[in-house]
Symmetry: C2
Subunit: 194 residues, 2 copies
C-alpha cells in the first residue's frame, strides 16, 4: 500500500479510481500526528478438515482507533491432490505470491494517481520455486520455503516508458509485502493445547 | 504444507480428512526420486482500479509435471477506506497473515493424522504490527513491512496436551510460509513498460 511523497503535488481530482485529495490529506494528517501511522492487522484461522482451513478477517487498528471492514472477509486455503489435499482453494504459498503482487499493484494505482498518470493496463506474473525435500523432512540442506521468487510487471498508461517504469519501482521500494518477504520479520508463536 | 517423517508409521486409514496412505506413499515416492520434490507455484495479477487488483491462480509445476488446479481460483485485494481504498477485499498484508495461519494449519492436519491423533478443534489468531510512516515515506528509520507478527494457536484432540503442542511445533518447524516470513527470500522484479 505504498504512496509517494517524493514528487511535487498538483491540485488534482481522483484518478485511476484513487481519491487523490484524500490521499494527500491523509499524508498531511499523519505528518502532523505520526502516531496515526501505527496499524495492527489481524486474522483468525480455523481448521476445517485435512489440509483445509478458513480465515476470517474483520477488524484492524489504525489511525488512532479500531476499524471494522465493510464486510467480514472469509478466505480459505487447501492443498492440491498431488500434495494430499482436495484442491478446494489456493495453497498458502500461492497466497504469498498474491500478497506480493497485489501489494505492489495497489501502490502502482496510488503512485500513478499522485503523479497524474492515467493507467490503462497493469499486469504481473509471479513465480516461486520451492523444493519440497525441506518440508517433507527428507533433506536438512533444503529450506522449507521458496528458494526464489520472480515477479514481472507490464504497465501501460499515458506516460513515457521511463515514467511508467519509475512508478513500478517506487511501488516496490515502498511495498510492505516486498519488505517482509525479502527481509523477513520476527514471528512469535504460542500454543494453548488440550 | 509440512508433513512429518520423524515418527514411526503405523498402518492407518484416513484421519482428520487426511488420506494418510497416500501421504506415506508420496513420501516413499519422493525418497526414491528426489527431483519429484521440485515445485513451482504461480500467480497472475491484474490491476482493476484504485488500490484494487485481482489474482488468477490456475497452474503449477511439481512431481515431475504440469498441473492444473481443479478450479481457476480468483482472489482480490484492496485497501480499506482509511487507506484510500474502497474496502472490497482484504489487504495484501492481511493475506500474509492468512498465508501464515493456513500453512501451519494444513501441516497440523497432516501431522496429526500421521501420528494417529484425531483433532476436534484448532484455531489460530494472528496479529501483525506495522507503522505506516515507512510506507508513506515519512520516516527513513521505519521499515515498510510488519515490525513483528504474533500467532497464537489453540488445539484440541484425543491426545495429551504435550502431544498436541508437539504437533503445532512440528508444523511450524516445517512450514514454508513461516520460513519465508522469518528468514526472507530473494525476490527479483522486472518491468516491461509502455
Amino acid at each position: 500500500m505504498p504512496t509517494d511523497t517524493t514528487q511535487p503535488r498538483k491540485a488534482r481530482g481522483p484518478l485511476n479510481g484513487v481519491d487523490t485529495p484524500t490521499l494527500f490529506a491523509t499524508l498531511d494528517a499523519v505528518k502532523g500526528q505520526p502516531e496515526l501511522a501505527k496499524f495492527q492487522f489481524r486474522a483468525r484461522n480455523r481448521w476445517k478438515t485435512g489440509t483445509m482451513s478458513e480465515t476470517t478477517i474483520d477488524t484492524f487498528f489504525g489511525a488512532g482507533g479500531e476499524h471494522a471492514h465493510k464486510t467480514t472477509f472469509k478466505v480459505q486455503a487447501d492443498h492440491p491432490n498431488v500434495l494430499v489435499g482436495e484442491d478446494r482453494s489456493p495453497l498458502p504459498v500461492e497466497y504469498l505470491l498474491h500478497a506480493l503482487a497485489s501489494c505492489i499493484m495497489g501502490g502502482i494505482g496510488n503512485i500513478a494517481a499522485a503523479r497524474g498518470v492515467t493507467l490503462t493496463e497493469v499486469e504481473a506474473r509471479i513465480e516461486g520455486d520451492i523444493d519440497l525435500l525441506g518440508i517433507l523432512g527428507l533433506s536438512n540442506d533444503v529450506r522449507n520455503g521458496y528458494g526464489g521468487i520472480r515477479a514481472s510487471f507490464s504497465i501501460k498508461g499515458d506516460a513515457p516508458p521511463e515514467k511508467l517504469q519509475e512508478i513500478v519501482e517506487q511501488s516496490r521500494a515502498r511495498s510492505a509485502v516486498f519488505d517482509v518477504l525479502t527481509n523477513g520479520v520476527p514471528v512469535s508463536l504460542s500454543v494453548n493445547a488440550g
